[in-house]
Symmetry: C2
Subunit: 324 residues, 2 copies
């Protein structure tokens, strides 16, 4: 078994020593910039831990782990263009620092690079590993599409929202765990159980993200809150409100959301007051707990030593106890 620190060091080393050409600089420099940014490396850590858990050699899973991190950052590059996001992890996004065209093209090259890395997985596992990766990658695109579709809708249900985040956030975590398990020699059933752990953890994580953007402490988060309310983002809080609110409240909310000249602070206070009156904060917190508990149950159900499962469990706990 390896510690989180050991696995993390392997990932950083692999990311820094990827075989990328230097030229053309306009294509490859944004990739280096994106991967340097010090993400939490959650997905590759989960992949290596799943492999380790099953008694596999994490080094055999390292190219696939690196592939999931490169893939994740590719989605961020393209999502940031679509969302017109100015910063990411405190630094200018690629489409701002360079250009939208650069962010498109460097993102494309990252997706290709992710496949290059993935295909360095042990030959015997390749058909299964690439199959999981392909399905997962399309699911992430589908999730992003539903998320964009929701922008122009005012009737998104909580079920639709949960399905969307299961694709957009859950699929990649589940896919990483499944791939790590397969390279580690897991049975289909063990791999499926770890994938369930990942999907539910991903959903819990995204729901908590929704909560933090409205109820988080900016001083602790290190960034402003209220972005979701400001841009009428369809979150679990909003979808729950639509499900629970009486007609009068829904009309008030619709007016606030349609008012383009409203002061953002005023909007934030008024929408949050509606959430508070309906108790959607507590409702969402209960959902976070429910999905998180269910994810841990999946992990617990694996007939393996608790000690072997400790790194994954601690990583999951750390994710959920975060204040940012």
């Amino acid at each position: 078994m390896h510690t989180r620190e050991e696995l993390g060091a392997m990932i950083e080393h692999a990311l820094r020593h990827m075989a990328l050409p230097a030229q053309p600089e306009g294509l490859y420099a944004p990739i280096v910039y994106t991967l340097e940014e010090g993400g939490k490396r959650i997905r590759p850590l989960m992949l290596l831990m799943a492999c380790d858990l099953l008694g596999g050699d994490p080094r055999a899973a390292l190219p696939a782990a690196t592939a999931t991190e490169v893939f994740h950052n590719f989605t961020l590059l393209h999502d940031d263009i679509m969302d017109n996001a100015p910063t990411r992890r405190g630094k200018p996004t690629v489409h701002v620092r360079w250009s939208p065209s650069t962010a498109i093209l460097s993102g494309d090259a990252m997706l290709i690079q992710a496949y290059r890395l993935l295909m360095q997985s042990p030959a015997a596992t390749l058909p299964a590993v690439t199959g999981v990766f392909n399905t997962m990658a399309l699911e992430v695109c589908e999730g992003q599409q539903y998320d964009m579709d929701f922008e122009s809708r005012n009737d998104v249900t909580t079920d639709e929202y949960l399905r969307m985040i299961a694709l957009k956030t859950g699929a990649l975590i589940a896919g990483a765990l499944r791939i790590g398990a397969l390279i580690g020699g897991a049975s289909e059933s063990e791999a499926a159980t770890l994938a369930r752990f990942g999907t539910d953890l991903g959903i819990a994580f995204q729901l908590q993200d929704d909560l933090l953007d409205t109820y988080g402490d900016p001083a602790v988060l290190g960034k402003a809150v209220g972005g979701d309310i400001a841009c009428n983002k369809k979150t679990y809080l909003l979808a729950s409100t639509l499900a629970l609110a009486p007609t009068k409240t829904k009309k008030d909310l619709a007016l606030i959301m349609a008012d383009r000249r409203i002061d953002p602070d005023d909007k934030f206070v008024r929408v949050r007051a509606i959430y508070d009156a309906l108790g959607v904060r507590e409702l969402t917190e209960r959902q976070v707990t429910a999905y998180f508990d269910r994810s841990l149950e999946a992990l617990d159900s694996l007939p393996l030593d608790a000690a072997r499962k400790a790194p994954l469990r601690e990583l999951a706990l750390g994710l959920m106890n975060r204040q940012k």
Copy 2:
């Protein structure tokens, strides 16, 4: 051996029956729209013909052939955003008909779909086939990056331009031929010879494209000419002019190119007059012939029956005799 018509029908059938989900429609409908548009299917035809030439079964190469066509159309989707192109093959481009975000995301899904298809190639050929595809895909991105880099430069040399189109246009044709050859059971040397045929043919094809945009007959082409001159595109004609023109002419040209208020028709006539005075049309025509002859020499050098090579030779001839 199979006729071009037989192979073409296989490709159309495979493209129409790709296993794509229906939902979310916003993700998948643009993919269907793009692949329906009736392209010439040059790359998948070349791939199947290369396989057939070597005595392989084109059906075994069909998923890879379809993958190259999906990949090619993915690059068009993203390039059209970067070039801000309003139409493609007489229809609105995806970023115009839907949105730039849709074109980015549906393009991403097409790249993933291309890999899904590629991985259905015969297992024994997969390491070689995916290796060629990965290299080719990155080369196409590199070519596009150089092409964009050239936009802000006024000193692009003919050598730099030729290297750019070898990547942007040549690499995919060469890659398709190499993959078809490998699936058909070619030796490394046969596959490399076919790739050389493809690279030089791709360069000849792109140089001819440059000629047609300035010297083509709009009535025959079915589209306007002069787009390259209008937007100061760095073409072989322009790069040759920079190499050949006396200082005075270069200054005149720079003034015309920098004049944002010039009438486009006037600009076209004046730039073309400079080309004519320097003989860059004839120079470019000679280059087209030289690259095309070299590509046919590569094909001829394969120690195989001329009759087996006829379909590839005729496809190449058809490409070069096109008026559009």
